[in-house]
Protein backbone atom coordinates (compact mmCIF):
# COMPACT_ATOMS: atom_id res chain seq x y z
CA UNK A 1 0.00 0.00 0.00
CA UNK A 2 1.12 3.55 -0.60
CA UNK A 3 1.04 4.62 3.03
CA UNK A 4 4.07 6.24 4.57
CA UNK A 5 4.79 5.24 8.15
CA UNK A 6 6.12 7.19 11.12
CA UNK A 7 9.80 6.37 11.32
CA UNK A 8 12.67 7.80 13.29
CA UNK A 9 15.10 9.65 11.05
CA UNK A 10 17.74 10.73 13.59
CA UNK A 11 18.25 11.45 17.28
CA UNK A 12 19.02 14.73 19.04
CA UNK A 13 20.49 13.47 22.28
CA UNK A 14 17.93 11.00 23.69
CA UNK A 15 15.01 12.51 21.72
CA UNK A 16 14.03 10.63 18.53
CA UNK A 17 13.08 12.89 15.61
CA UNK A 18 10.53 11.31 13.25
CA UNK A 19 9.58 12.35 9.73
CA UNK A 20 6.29 13.91 10.90
CA UNK A 21 8.19 16.21 13.27
CA UNK A 22 10.46 17.34 10.42
CA UNK A 23 7.41 18.04 8.25
CA UNK A 24 5.77 19.90 11.16
CA UNK A 25 8.74 22.25 11.27
CA UNK A 26 8.62 22.68 7.49
CA UNK A 27 4.97 23.72 7.81
CA UNK A 28 5.86 26.15 10.60
CA UNK A 29 8.47 27.64 8.29
CA UNK A 30 6.08 27.94 5.33
CA UNK A 31 3.40 29.53 7.52
CA UNK A 32 5.83 32.02 9.07
CA UNK A 33 7.32 32.92 5.70
CA UNK A 34 3.92 33.46 4.01
CA UNK A 35 2.57 35.56 6.88
CA UNK A 36 5.78 37.61 7.08
CA UNK A 37 5.60 38.29 3.34
CA UNK A 38 1.93 39.27 3.62
CA UNK A 39 2.46 41.60 6.58
CA UNK A 40 5.44 43.55 5.24
CA UNK A 41 5.23 47.37 5.46
CA UNK A 42 1.74 47.71 6.91
CA UNK A 43 0.06 51.09 6.44
CA UNK A 44 -2.95 52.78 8.01
CA UNK A 45 -4.54 53.17 4.56
CA UNK A 46 -3.55 49.99 2.69
CA UNK A 47 -2.35 50.36 -0.87
CA UNK A 48 -1.14 46.85 -1.79
CA UNK A 49 -3.04 43.61 -2.16
CA UNK A 50 -0.96 41.78 0.48
CA UNK A 51 -2.23 43.86 3.36
CA UNK A 52 -5.83 43.48 2.17
CA UNK A 53 -5.49 39.68 2.10
CA UNK A 54 -3.88 39.76 5.53
CA UNK A 55 -6.61 41.96 6.99
CA UNK A 56 -9.33 39.80 5.45
CA UNK A 57 -7.87 36.61 6.98
CA UNK A 58 -7.37 38.12 10.44
CA UNK A 59 -10.76 39.83 10.36
CA UNK A 60 -12.70 36.73 9.34
CA UNK A 61 -11.08 34.57 12.04
CA UNK A 62 -11.67 37.25 14.65
CA UNK A 63 -15.33 37.70 13.69
CA UNK A 64 -15.83 33.91 13.83
CA UNK A 65 -14.27 33.87 17.31
CA UNK A 66 -16.49 36.77 18.38
CA UNK A 67 -19.71 35.17 17.15
CA UNK A 68 -18.81 31.84 18.79
CA UNK A 69 -17.25 32.88 22.10
CA UNK A 70 -18.85 36.26 22.73
CA UNK A 71 -18.14 39.88 21.78
CA UNK A 72 -15.55 40.49 24.52
CA UNK A 73 -13.30 37.54 23.65
CA UNK A 74 -11.83 38.68 20.33
CA UNK A 75 -8.32 38.36 21.77
CA UNK A 76 -8.46 34.59 21.21
CA UNK A 77 -8.34 35.31 17.46
CA UNK A 78 -4.54 35.11 17.29
CA UNK A 79 -4.34 31.66 18.84
CA UNK A 80 -7.10 30.19 16.68
CA UNK A 81 -5.68 31.83 13.54
CA UNK A 82 -2.36 30.06 14.20
CA UNK A 83 -4.04 26.72 14.91
CA UNK A 84 -6.27 26.99 11.83
CA UNK A 85 -3.35 27.88 9.56
CA UNK A 86 -1.21 25.03 10.84
CA UNK A 87 -4.04 22.49 10.63
CA UNK A 88 -5.15 23.51 7.15
CA UNK A 89 -1.60 23.32 5.76
CA UNK A 90 -0.88 19.99 7.41
CA UNK A 91 -4.19 18.43 6.33
CA UNK A 92 -3.63 19.58 2.74
CA UNK A 93 -0.05 18.27 2.74
CA UNK A 94 -1.46 14.74 2.51
CA UNK A 95 -2.98 15.87 -0.79
CA UNK A 96 0.40 16.78 -2.17
CA UNK A 97 2.74 14.11 -0.93
CA UNK A 98 0.95 10.85 -0.14
CA UNK A 99 3.54 8.12 0.24
CA UNK A 100 6.48 10.50 0.57
CA UNK A 101 5.64 12.84 3.44
CA UNK A 102 3.12 11.85 6.11
CA UNK A 103 0.78 14.70 7.08
CA UNK A 104 1.55 15.73 10.68
CA UNK A 105 -2.11 15.40 11.71
CA UNK A 106 -2.03 11.70 10.75
CA UNK A 107 0.27 11.21 13.75
CA UNK A 108 -1.31 11.01 17.19
CA UNK A 109 1.59 13.02 18.65
CA UNK A 110 0.58 16.24 16.87
CA UNK A 111 -3.17 16.00 17.46
CA UNK A 112 -2.80 15.01 21.11
CA UNK A 113 -0.48 17.99 21.62
CA UNK A 114 -3.10 20.34 20.17
CA UNK A 115 -5.81 18.69 22.28
CA UNK A 116 -3.72 19.17 25.44
CA UNK A 117 -3.27 22.85 24.48
CA UNK A 118 -7.05 23.22 24.48
CA UNK A 119 -7.32 21.33 27.78
CA UNK A 120 -4.73 23.57 29.44
CA UNK A 121 -6.45 26.69 28.08
CA UNK A 122 -9.79 25.49 29.49
CA UNK A 123 -8.32 24.92 32.97
CA UNK A 124 -6.20 28.09 32.96
CA UNK A 125 -8.95 30.46 31.86
CA UNK A 126 -11.42 28.77 34.21
CA UNK A 127 -9.07 29.48 37.14
CA UNK A 128 -8.49 33.02 35.86
CA UNK A 129 -12.18 33.92 35.64
CA UNK A 130 -13.60 32.03 38.65
CA UNK A 131 -10.68 32.09 41.05
CA UNK A 132 -9.12 28.94 42.46
CA UNK A 133 -11.97 28.29 44.92
CA UNK A 134 -14.69 28.66 42.33
CA UNK A 135 -12.74 26.49 39.92
CA UNK A 136 -12.44 23.64 42.45
CA UNK A 137 -16.11 24.04 43.33
CA UNK A 138 -17.22 23.28 39.75
CA UNK A 139 -15.94 19.72 40.19
CA UNK A 140 -18.44 19.16 43.01
CA UNK A 141 -21.16 20.80 40.98
CA UNK A 142 -24.53 19.05 41.33
CA UNK A 143 -23.55 16.70 44.17
CA UNK A 144 -20.17 15.99 45.80
CA UNK A 145 -20.19 12.34 44.75
CA UNK A 146 -20.13 13.42 41.07
CA UNK A 147 -16.41 14.29 41.50
CA UNK A 148 -14.95 11.28 39.61
CA UNK A 149 -17.44 11.72 36.76
CA UNK A 150 -16.57 15.42 36.46
CA UNK A 151 -12.84 14.64 36.41
CA UNK A 152 -13.35 11.97 33.71
CA UNK A 153 -15.44 14.32 31.58
CA UNK A 154 -12.72 17.00 31.84
CA UNK A 155 -10.01 14.51 30.88
CA UNK A 156 -11.99 13.16 27.91
CA UNK A 157 -12.03 16.56 26.15
CA UNK A 158 -8.46 16.50 24.74
CA UNK A 159 -8.68 12.78 23.94
CA UNK A 160 -11.87 13.12 21.93
CA UNK A 161 -10.55 16.22 20.11
CA UNK A 162 -7.28 14.47 19.26
CA UNK A 163 -8.85 11.19 18.16
CA UNK A 164 -11.44 12.94 15.98
CA UNK A 165 -8.80 14.80 13.96
CA UNK A 166 -6.37 11.85 13.89
CA UNK A 167 -9.04 9.34 12.90
CA UNK A 168 -10.39 11.46 10.08
CA UNK A 169 -7.05 12.28 8.50
CA UNK A 170 -5.47 8.85 9.06
CA UNK A 171 -8.60 7.03 7.87
CA UNK A 172 -8.66 9.16 4.74
CA UNK A 173 -4.99 8.43 4.20
CA UNK A 174 -5.56 4.67 4.51
CA UNK A 175 -8.54 4.74 2.14
CA UNK A 176 -6.60 6.79 -0.43
CA UNK A 177 -3.74 4.30 -0.09
CA UNK A 178 -6.20 1.44 -0.72
CA UNK A 179 -7.44 3.21 -3.86
CA UNK A 180 -3.84 3.51 -5.04
CA UNK A 181 -3.12 -0.15 -4.37
CA UNK A 182 -6.36 -1.09 -6.14
CA UNK A 183 -5.57 0.78 -9.33
CA UNK A 184 -1.83 0.45 -9.71
CA UNK A 185 -0.05 -1.46 -6.98
CA UNK A 186 1.87 1.43 -5.50
CA UNK A 187 2.25 5.19 -5.58
CA UNK A 188 5.13 5.33 -8.05
CA UNK A 189 3.28 3.35 -10.73
CA UNK A 190 0.26 5.56 -10.16
CA UNK A 191 2.30 8.71 -10.47
CA UNK A 192 3.83 7.36 -13.67
CA UNK A 193 0.39 6.54 -15.12
CA UNK A 194 -0.94 9.96 -14.13
CA UNK A 195 2.00 11.84 -15.67
CA UNK A 196 1.84 9.77 -18.84
CA UNK A 197 -1.88 10.33 -19.25
CA UNK A 198 -1.55 14.08 -18.64
CA UNK A 199 1.28 14.38 -21.16
CA UNK A 200 -0.61 12.27 -23.72
CA UNK A 201 -3.79 14.31 -23.34
CA UNK A 202 -1.95 17.62 -23.54
CA UNK A 203 -0.24 16.43 -26.72
CA UNK A 204 -3.58 15.31 -28.17
CA UNK A 205 -5.36 18.58 -27.47
CA UNK A 206 -2.56 20.94 -28.46
CA UNK A 207 -2.06 19.07 -31.72
CA UNK A 208 1.70 18.49 -31.65
CA UNK A 209 3.07 15.24 -33.09
CA UNK A 210 -0.14 15.05 -35.09
CA UNK A 211 0.91 12.14 -37.24
CA UNK A 212 1.52 9.79 -34.30
CA UNK A 213 -1.27 10.95 -32.08
CA UNK A 214 -4.06 11.48 -34.57
CA UNK A 215 -5.05 7.85 -34.89
CA UNK A 216 -7.83 6.42 -32.79
CA UNK A 217 -5.72 3.87 -30.90
CA UNK A 218 -3.53 6.48 -29.24
CA UNK A 219 -6.58 8.52 -28.28
CA UNK A 220 -8.19 5.41 -26.79
CA UNK A 221 -5.05 4.67 -24.76
CA UNK A 222 -5.00 8.25 -23.47
CA UNK A 223 -8.59 8.07 -22.31
CA UNK A 224 -8.13 4.63 -20.71
CA UNK A 225 -5.10 5.93 -18.82
CA UNK A 226 -7.21 8.74 -17.39
CA UNK A 227 -9.58 6.44 -15.45
CA UNK A 228 -7.24 5.27 -12.65
CA UNK A 229 -6.15 8.81 -11.93
CA UNK A 230 -9.81 9.87 -11.77
CA UNK A 231 -10.35 7.42 -8.88
CA UNK A 232 -7.30 8.75 -7.08
CA UNK A 233 -8.38 12.33 -7.73
CA UNK A 234 -11.75 11.60 -6.15
CA UNK A 235 -10.07 10.11 -3.07
CA UNK A 236 -7.81 13.11 -2.66
CA UNK A 237 -10.59 15.62 -3.28
CA UNK A 238 -12.90 14.06 -0.71
CA UNK A 239 -10.55 12.87 2.04
CA UNK A 240 -7.83 15.50 1.88
CA UNK A 241 -9.45 18.71 0.64
CA UNK A 242 -13.05 18.37 1.86
CA UNK A 243 -12.47 16.42 5.08
CA UNK A 244 -9.26 18.29 5.82
CA UNK A 245 -10.84 21.75 5.64
CA UNK A 246 -13.94 20.55 7.50
CA UNK A 247 -11.90 18.99 10.29
CA UNK A 248 -9.83 22.16 10.66
CA UNK A 249 -13.04 24.15 11.08
CA UNK A 250 -14.50 21.61 13.51
CA UNK A 251 -11.35 21.46 15.64
CA UNK A 252 -11.27 25.25 15.97
CA UNK A 253 -15.02 25.51 16.64
CA UNK A 254 -14.99 22.80 19.31
CA UNK A 255 -11.93 24.34 20.99
CA UNK A 256 -13.67 27.73 21.07
CA UNK A 257 -16.85 26.19 22.48
CA UNK A 258 -14.96 24.29 25.19
CA UNK A 259 -12.87 27.29 26.23
CA UNK A 260 -15.81 29.70 26.34
CA UNK A 261 -17.87 27.12 28.26
CA UNK A 262 -15.10 26.78 30.82
CA UNK A 263 -14.95 30.58 31.15
CA UNK A 264 -18.64 31.38 31.52
CA UNK A 265 -20.51 29.04 33.81
Amino acid sequence: MGISTVKTIFHIGPIPISNTIIWTWVIFGILTLVLLLLSRNLKLKPTGKAQLICEYLVDSVRSLVKTTMGEDKGYFGGYFFTIAGFLILSNLSGFLFLGIVRPPTADLVTTLTLGIFTFLMCQGFAIKTKGIGGYLKTFLDPFPFMLPLNIISEMSTPVSLAFRLFGNIFGGMVITGLIYSMIAGNIYTTAFIFLMSVILNILIYTGKFKKVLDNKIMKFIGIILMFPSLFAAFGHAYFDVFAGVLQTFIFCMLSMVFVSQAMTD
Binding site: T68, S160, F163, R164, F166, G167, N168, F170, G171, V174, L246, F249, I250, M253, L254, V257
Partner: protein, 84 residues
Protein backbone atom coordinates in the same frame (compact mmCIF):
# COMPACT_ATOMS: atom_id res chain seq x y z
CA UNK B 1 -2.94 -26.85 4.32
CA UNK B 2 -0.92 -25.69 7.31
CA UNK B 3 -2.49 -23.01 9.49
CA UNK B 4 -0.23 -21.69 12.20
CA UNK B 5 -1.22 -19.69 15.27
CA UNK B 6 -0.15 -16.35 13.83
CA UNK B 7 -2.32 -16.93 10.76
CA UNK B 8 -5.32 -17.52 13.01
CA UNK B 9 -4.50 -14.35 14.97
CA UNK B 10 -4.36 -12.35 11.74
CA UNK B 11 -7.64 -13.81 10.48
CA UNK B 12 -9.50 -13.07 13.71
CA UNK B 13 -7.96 -9.57 13.86
CA UNK B 14 -9.45 -8.91 10.42
CA UNK B 15 -12.87 -10.17 11.57
CA UNK B 16 -12.59 -8.02 14.70
CA UNK B 17 -11.73 -4.99 12.60
CA UNK B 18 -14.85 -5.59 10.53
CA UNK B 19 -16.98 -5.79 13.67
CA UNK B 20 -15.38 -2.66 15.14
CA UNK B 21 -16.25 -0.59 12.08
CA UNK B 22 -19.94 -1.45 12.68
CA UNK B 23 -19.82 1.38 15.24
CA UNK B 24 -20.38 3.64 12.24
CA UNK B 25 -23.98 2.41 12.22
CA UNK B 26 -24.97 4.56 15.20
CA UNK B 27 -23.02 7.50 13.82
CA UNK B 28 -24.99 7.33 10.59
CA UNK B 29 -28.32 7.29 12.40
CA UNK B 30 -27.30 10.18 14.66
CA UNK B 31 -26.04 12.36 11.81
CA UNK B 32 -29.18 11.61 9.81
CA UNK B 33 -31.40 12.72 12.69
CA UNK B 34 -29.32 15.89 13.14
CA UNK B 35 -29.49 16.73 9.43
CA UNK B 36 -33.25 16.15 9.24
CA UNK B 37 -33.86 18.39 12.25
CA UNK B 38 -31.59 21.05 10.72
CA UNK B 39 -33.60 20.91 7.48
CA UNK B 40 -36.82 21.30 9.45
CA UNK B 41 -35.53 24.28 11.40
CA UNK B 42 -34.18 26.00 8.28
CA UNK B 43 -37.61 25.51 6.69
CA UNK B 44 -39.26 27.03 9.74
CA UNK B 45 -36.80 29.90 10.18
CA UNK B 46 -34.78 30.55 6.99
CA UNK B 47 -33.08 33.70 8.33
CA UNK B 48 -31.18 31.68 10.99
CA UNK B 49 -29.56 29.46 8.37
CA UNK B 50 -25.91 30.28 9.10
CA UNK B 51 -26.10 29.64 12.83
CA UNK B 52 -28.09 26.44 12.22
CA UNK B 53 -25.40 25.28 9.79
CA UNK B 54 -22.71 25.90 12.41
CA UNK B 55 -24.70 24.00 15.04
CA UNK B 56 -25.23 21.15 12.55
CA UNK B 57 -21.52 20.84 11.83
CA UNK B 58 -20.60 20.81 15.53
CA UNK B 59 -23.34 18.27 16.26
CA UNK B 60 -22.26 16.05 13.40
CA UNK B 61 -18.66 16.21 14.64
CA UNK B 62 -19.74 15.18 18.14
CA UNK B 63 -21.92 12.36 16.79
CA UNK B 64 -19.01 11.18 14.66
CA UNK B 65 -16.78 10.46 17.68
CA UNK B 66 -17.93 6.91 18.37
CA UNK B 67 -17.63 5.99 14.71
CA UNK B 68 -14.08 7.37 14.68
CA UNK B 69 -13.23 5.30 17.76
CA UNK B 70 -14.43 2.18 15.95
CA UNK B 71 -12.38 3.13 12.89
CA UNK B 72 -9.24 3.61 15.02
CA UNK B 73 -9.75 0.24 16.73
CA UNK B 74 -10.12 -1.38 13.30
CA UNK B 75 -7.01 0.35 11.94
CA UNK B 76 -4.96 -0.68 14.98
CA UNK B 77 -6.13 -4.28 14.60
CA UNK B 78 -5.28 -4.30 10.90
CA UNK B 79 -2.02 -2.33 10.81
CA UNK B 80 -0.30 -2.62 14.19
CA UNK B 81 -1.06 -6.34 14.97
CA UNK B 82 -1.23 -5.89 18.75
CA UNK B 83 -1.85 -9.59 19.50
CA UNK B 84 0.87 -11.24 17.45
Amino acid sequence: MNISGSDLIFAFSAIGAGIAVLGGFGTGIGQGIAASKACESVGRQPEAESSILRMLIIGCALAETTGIYGLIVALILMLVHPFS
